[in-house]
């Protein structure tokens, strides 16, 4: 993907909506001509009035100029509402073309892009209101063009009157323009320094006011100290940005001072010429008004426009970075994967890790170290181990979320990269809560391929039938808080929806990732039981650190420090007298009836 620059906004807008963009350009161009024409007609009008004042007769010319003035004012006001509508039209078209493509692109990115906070933030910055950004960048560029045209118009009139003065003004303004263009970029770079302090302060503010901090804030009473720190940092950041803004204002006002100085010089030249009758009164007055009008434009519009364009330049830089991020090649569209799922289901025999070594992109420690194990179809497996041992990473690799690792992952003896993910079905600890109906949440786009009986069967199996009965629209109740009529389920009910989603899947391999740690152990055990029930006859992978939940598995892999430390059935491992047994006894000891109190805890 080639890089996009702010000027590409023009291309993107024209690709999306050529008619509106072209019409918009035309109107903007005409609007830019208005001040020049106005200057000319005011000059004509005043000259006519002065002439009439002398001769005492009004002629047709006067009326002509008045009509032109009125026409210009009419065009100015009426074209405003049309450009507004055109902007809306461009934005809509951009939404269906550009924005949709961007969303699709983001949905296909390599998974690690999303897990990297910095990249994630960048994606969200680029994606948020992208269609509006493009449209604004286009409008902002045209605004800049308009300002230049306005100034050029005045210069051209001046050229026809006193040609060398026009050249003089041009010679002075172009460097000024260039300087302000350049410093716009510098400002942007300086701004970046202060964002970290600002983010920090936002965080302090959150600590001092947020709901999730209320307990510790109250009991530990640290608010005074952090409030002081907040104010101190706030002032620091404020003074810094004030400094930047001061520069900005000085630059801006220096610009208008320069224009005033040029105007003064022009005045000094034009006054004698006018008094000598070389320049007509009307032309003099109109030119002076136009030049002073530019003083206004220079002070705000130009500086602001240049700054915005510099800002958009940065937006487009980030946009092209996102557009050039690599995509996950294994993603297919819905139809194809639905077809091949059946094929996969029929042929799954083994899943094997061979000497897999893995570290997360951009980090140094290896999470998996030379890990090898083999899974056979139809059996129940468990992965146990301490926090950070690499259990969840294994799940991520099996699911193909991280395609780059050393060693081999094989399905039926073939590289896993050749397979679609249809043979897997997962229940994650942070299961998804989609803002669609219960039915859609369970079927996920396969509504037509799933019979009603099948669906109801699954709903019963996971124990969701009572909930569904309670809901007004039953299975078709929209969940989440998107639509007015939608409502939200409790955490436990959502968990059952996630289980149902998995239960409906025809995938031969099922994975249950460790449920959240804050869960009541009795309830957690229930989930493991339920999951086992709905997965009869499938290959099952359980991830846990609570050993009791998984001891019924056919085969247990004890993961320690990124490798398989022990493997075997519960009984085999207990006999082995190794790490598993230590862990198991550590947990079991708490429930032994014959021992009392805490004194003997440390003996084992």
């Amino acid at each position: 993907m080639k890089k996009v620059y702010v000027l590409d906004a023009v291309k993107i807008v024209f690709q999306a909506d050529a008619a509106a963009a072209g019409f918009f350009l035309l109107l903007r161009f005409l609007q830019a001509l208005v001040p020049t024409l106005q200057t000319l007609s005011v000059a004509g009008f005043i000259d006519q009035v002065t002439a009439a004042g002398r001769s005492g007769v009004h002629n047709r010319g006067l009326l002509f100029f008045i009509l032109i003035l009125v026409a210009l004012v009419a065009f100015n006001w009426l074209s405003k509402s049309i450009t507004g509508l055109l902007e809306q039209h461009m934005e809509m078209r951009l939404r269906t073309t550009f924005k949709s493509q961007l969303v699709e692109k983001i949905s296909r990115l390599n998974y690690d892009a999303m897990e990297n906070g910095r990249v994630r933030d960048q994606i969200s910055r680029v994606n948020k209101d992208a269609e509006k950004r493009i449209r604004e960048a286009y409008a902002r560029l045209l605004r800049l063009l308009e300002l230049i045209l306005k100034a050029a118009g005045v210069l051209i009139i001046l050229f026809t009157q006193v040609w060398w003065l026009a050249f003089f003004i041009l010679a002075v303004s172009v460097p000024c323009f260039y300087i302000s263009m350049k410093s716009g970029k510098e400002d942007y770079d300086a701004q970046a320094d202060v964002t970290k302090v600002n983010r920090m302060n936002e965080y302090y503010n959150e600590m001092l006011k947020g709901r999730e901090y209320v307990d510790e804030r109250t009991v530990f009473g640290y608010h005074r100290e952090y409030r002081e720190r907040f104010l101190q940092q706030y002032e620091e950041a404020r003074k810094y940005t004030t400094g930047i803004r001061l520069k900005w204002f000085i630059k801006m006002k220096a610009g208008s001072m320069a224009v005033i100085a040029v105007s003064a010089a022009a005045l000094a030249v034009m006054i004698p010429l006018t008094l000598d009758g070389v320049l007509s009164t009307g032309m003099f007055v109109a030119l002076m008004n136009a030049i002073f009008g530019i003083v206004q434009n220079m002070s705000w519009d130009l500086t602001y426009s240049i700054d915005r364009v510099a800002w958009y330049q940065n937006y487009f830089r980030e946009l092209s970075e996102v557009l050039s991020m690599s995509e996950d090649q294994t993603i297919t569209d819905g139809k194809k994967s639905a077809e091949s799922k059946e094929k996969e289901a029929a042929v799954f025999r083994t899943l094997e890790f061979r000497n897999v070594t893995f570290r997360y992109p951009g980090t140094s420690p290896n999470i998996l170290k030379n890990l090898s194990f083999k899974i056979d179809a139809g059996k129940k497996y468990a992965f146990v181990g301490a926090n950070g041992a690499g259990k969840t990473t294994i799940v991520k690799l099996i699911n193909g979320l991280y395609p780059d690792y050393e060693g081999e992952i094989l399905v039926n003896g073939e590289d896993i990269h050749h397979f679609e993910r249809g043979f897997l079905s997962n229940v994650f600890q942070d299961f998804a809560r989609y803002p669609v109906s219960v039915r859609e949440n369970i079927t996920i786009g396969r509504k037509d391929q799933v019979s009603e009986e099948e669906l109801l069967q699954v709903v019963r199996e996971v124990g969701l039938d009572n909930t569904v009965e309670r809901l007004e629209d039953g299975l078709d109740t929209v969940l989440g808080k998107v639509k007015e009529e939608s409502l939200d389920l409790s955490g436990g009910e959502w968990q059952k929806v996630a289980l149902a989603r998995c239960a409906l899947s025809k995938a031969p391999v099922r994975i249950l990732d460790e449920p959240t740690s804050a869960m009541d152990p009795v309830y957690e055990n229930e989930i493991y039981q339920r999951f086992q029930q709905i997965s009869q006859g499938k290959t099952v992978l359980l991830i846990s650190h609570r050993l009791a939940s998984v001891k019924m598995s056919d085969f247990i892999f004890v993961i320690a420090d990124g490798a398989v430390a022990e493997a075997g059935s519960h009984w085999e491992l207990m006999e082995k007298n190794g790490l598993y047994r230590t862990m198991y006894e550590e947990q079991a000891k708490w429930y032994e009836k014959d021992r009392e109190g805490g004194e003997d805890i440390h003996e084992s």
Partner: protein, 583 residues
């Protein structure tokens, strides 16, 4: 509480004005001249143009023309400088004021009743308060500049135009009326149009989220559901566009009508000027000067109404949220030092605001100084609520709580004498040292020693030193859930206290380390009263006594052994959990 505009304004104005009143006064003072200078430019432009006409006619000397030109240039310079200063300084004042308001708000929040954080209405106020404070600053800013900039400008322009020609007074009216009318109509329709479009927009955004945010990204990916949500998203965008286009067209038609109206007014002014000029009532210079300032007049009038009506319509609600928060009732502010760590609950009941049933029902128990007690029960039994009441974070609705011999009432709190490891402990994006010491910032105790008690090898374990920020957001490191929990435990122990409360302190820690930590708890409990809340009954075993909660009531109270023998709720729970480990 809902206030009308004037009530809100009267309340918010002094609040925002006071902290930076000196700066505000200076700004207002300069702004008056700023406003006047804008009008003065128009007057001097006319003078200059008149003098040049006279110069041509031969009635004025060259010198007079030059002086008029110099005066105009000087006035332009002054006006631009004032403009630069005011615009620059207004931001300074507003930001300075906003910082003070933030601190004021933070201070207020620290005194609010923690239980209110469970109320939806309160949370709305809290959520909107920041923006509301900002809006309040803006409101004061707008009000001030209307008085000090716009009013002097329009007054001087008015006087000037009336002196030129009485008829021009209607020109001012012709600026005022269409702008007022346009803004009123836009405010009325704009709101409605946005409300019509908002639901379809939200729908599209909801379908976009599983595709572009982390929240559901992984599951969407492994389910291969992206195509499905893309389809939904595209459909929703289509619907959004359709609705938007319908209303945008209507909006454009309204705008066209309004602009016609403005055009007529503008044209009216133009004709007034032209006819005055042609008839010779006003000079050519006056015509040119006033004509060139019509745009500015429209612009400034537009600013007045847009800003002040903006305040009136959208921002008022948020300013109201801000004021509501500033006036919310406060909680226990008097800290009392406890003599010892005895705890006594007498018939304590508690209900969350907006809840339908009591969370705790007539709870009574006593804990002696230095005792270690476990509170057990299933999810939703009320354990964490009990903890909050015990710590004095929430007040009991009825019954009384006595800590260290002091009855907690509406005024007193016991925060100096208690410490806790919360179930939902905070993960501060601060340095490691601060993360531990935050529980007691004035303590001179060695915090590394405390952390070592929890995890002897923390330095290699965390791969962090004292000053490492524990968040990637601030160029630091991310810790795992278990590592965070150890920090939370160290934090709770670090604070010197008579009472230590541990709420599910090992939920994120794996079993092997869990056992070691129990030792740490026992040591930390030495010399203080220790309450451990847990649903792992293994942990309850190390306590001197166990209190069993069920559906908000104390159902059992006794030692582990006693309760097992009793064969009630506790033994039932015990059997269930122990059963997993039986062969």
């Amino acid at each position: 509480m809902n206030r009308n505009f004037f009530q809100t304004f009267r309340k918010a104005y002094p609040l925002v004005y006071k902290p930076v009143w000196k700066e505000n006064l200076l700004l207002s003072f300069v702004d008056i001249f700023h406003g006047l200078s804008f009008a003065a430019v128009v007057i001097l432009t006319q003078r200059f143009f008149d003098s040049i006409s006279e110069g041509i006619a031969g009635t004025a000397a060259r010198k007079e023309v030059i002086i008029a030109a110099a005066a105009l240039i000087a006035c332009q310079i002054v006006s631009q400088l004032l403009n630069g200063f005011v615009n620059f300084y207004a931001d300074v004042v507003r930001e300075k004021g906003y910082g003070r308001i933030c601190v004021l708000l933070q201070e207020k929040v620290s005194r609010l009743r923690p239980v209110d954080f469970e109320k939806n209405s309160f949370l709305t106020n809290l959520e909107m308060a920041d923006q509301g404070a900002k809006d309040a600053c803006e409101m004061v800013d707008t009000a001030n500049s209307v008085i000090t900039f716009y009013v002097p400008y329009f007054m001087l322009m008015g006087i000037y135009m009336v002196r030129l020609d009485w008829g021009l007074l209607s020109a001012l009216l012709l600026v005022f009326l269409p702008v007022l009318f346009t803004n009123l109509v836009k405010m009325h329709f704009g709101d409605r149009i946005e409300r019509q479009i908002a639901p379809v927009r939200r729908e599209a955004e909801a379908y976009e989220r599983p595709l572009t945010t982390l929240e559901n990204y992984r599951e969407t990916r492994v389910l291969g559901a992206a195509w499905y949500f893309l389809r939904l998203y595209r459909e929703a965008v289509g619907k959004w566009n359709q609705t938007a286009w319908k209303y945008r067209k209507r909006e454009a038609a309204i705008n066209l009508g309004l602009n016609c109206f403005s055009f007529l007014a503008y044209g009216g002014i133009l004709l007034l000027l032209v006819s005055g000029c042609v008839r010779g009532d006003i000079s050519v210079g006056a015509f040119a000067a006033v004509f060139s300032s019509i745009d500015v007049m429209f612009l400034l009038m537009e600013e007045i109404f847009r800003d002040s009506l903006g305040c009136l319509s959208q921002n008022m609600g948020r300013v109201n949220n801000f004021l509501n928060l500033m006036e919310s009732p406060e909680s226990r502010q008097v800290s009392v030092e406890m003599k010892n760590g005895t705890i006594s609950f007498d018939d304590v009941s508690f209900r969350y605001p907006e809840a339908e049933t009591d969370c705790l029902k007539h709870v009574s128990f006593r804990i002696a100084d230095g005792e270690t007690v476990a509170v057990v029960g299933e999810n939703g039994a009320g354990k964490t609520t009990l903890a909050r009441i015990l710590l004095g974070v929430y007040p009991a609705d009825s019954g009384s709580v006595t800590i260290g011999g002091v009855v907690l009432d509406e005024k007193t709190n016991c925060f100096h004498s208690v410490s806790a490891v919360f179930q939902k402990f905070n993960r501060y994006k601060l340095s490691l040292e601060e993360n531990v010491r935050i529980s007691d910032l004035h303590s001179t105790e060695n915090w590394e020693e405390t952390l070592r008690k929890v995890d002897s090898g923390w330095k290699t374990d965390f791969q962090a030193d004292a000053q490492t920020v524990l968040s990637r957001d601030f160029d630091g490191v991310d810790l795992s859930g278990g590592q965070w929990q150890k920090i939370a435990i160290a934090r709770g122990i670090y604070k010197k206290s008579k009472i230590l409360l541990l709420d599910e302190p090992t939920s994120a820690i794996d079993p092997i380390q869990e056992s070691r930590l129990y030792q740490t708890f026992l040591r930390a409990a030495e010399g203080r009263t220790c309450v451990i809340i847990t649903h792992r009954l293994g942990l309850a075993k190390i306590a001197d006594r166990v209190i069993v909660l069920k559906e908000g009531k104390v159902v059992e109270n006794g030692s582990h052994k006693e309760l097992l023998e009793r064969g009630g709720e506790y033994s039932r729970m015990w059997e269930a959990q122990a059963g997993w480990y039986l062969s």
